[in-house]
Symmetry: C2
Subunit: 126 residues, 2 copies
Amino acid sequence: MVTKQFSGSPEDADLMRADSLAREIFSDIANKWAFLIIETLGDRTLRFSELRKEIEGISHKMLTQNLRMLERNGLVERTVHPTVPPRVEYTLTEPGHGLRTIADGMCDWTHTYLGRIETARRRFDT
Amino acid sequence: MVTKQFSGSPEDADLMRADSLAREIFSDIANKWAFLIIETLGDRTLRFSELRKEIEGISHKMLTQNLRMLERNGLVERTVHPTVPPRVEYTLTEPGHGLRTIADGMCDWTHTYLGRIETARRRFDT
DNA sequence: CCGGATCCTTGCCGATACTG
DNA sequence: CAGTATCGGCAAGGATCCGG
């Protein structure tokens, strides 16, 4: 798993590399905005401003920052139409869709357990 | 979905409440450490210090903070054995296990796409 | 319309020290 | 051993301006 222990032997070298990379990706993606962007895109193709409108509460800066990150990891594809005014569109790649399935799972999970979580919170907050 | 738009009509009131709560939960758990804790626990029962050892790089403070958060949301159960020295054990609840399935999915996803992501990064970083 | 750059505020997080 | 409290550095994130 991502928290594997290594002995330091030479043949573990690439495993350690893969592991630290996995950690890095994990840190990138386990983030509120990334999930919301993926979820909002779905199988549509949206412009920057459309994403900004649909994702309530995200700032200009956070949107660009996360889109860059997702683009860098190959999860979204960014296409620039050289018109004036410029038109930039974002869509999910295949790995992106894979992650979307997981994000969907999280949403389902949230909705099925919403009630239980709410009561758990109330019990705790006393 | 979590980014639904509301008209402000009275019958939307509870939906809005549910939505904002969902957002809150989402913000809580879409976090690197929460995922790693869930994933590390699995179906075992671990002590604080054991978790600390297994989750590489987590600080004392972050571990307690996230365990409190997970406990508050009813995802982990905390049992204190009133011995000396004290012994505190953590285990996943049913909702916690649901989330664990999702975390597992994320790990699988990471490993299947690790190569593609790495090359995507190299292309981007030029 | 997009996104980079800058400034500035906020809160995260680590280190440390102290209780039960 | 487990948890809380405090403090301080630093990075995340919002607001704004400018440039393509």
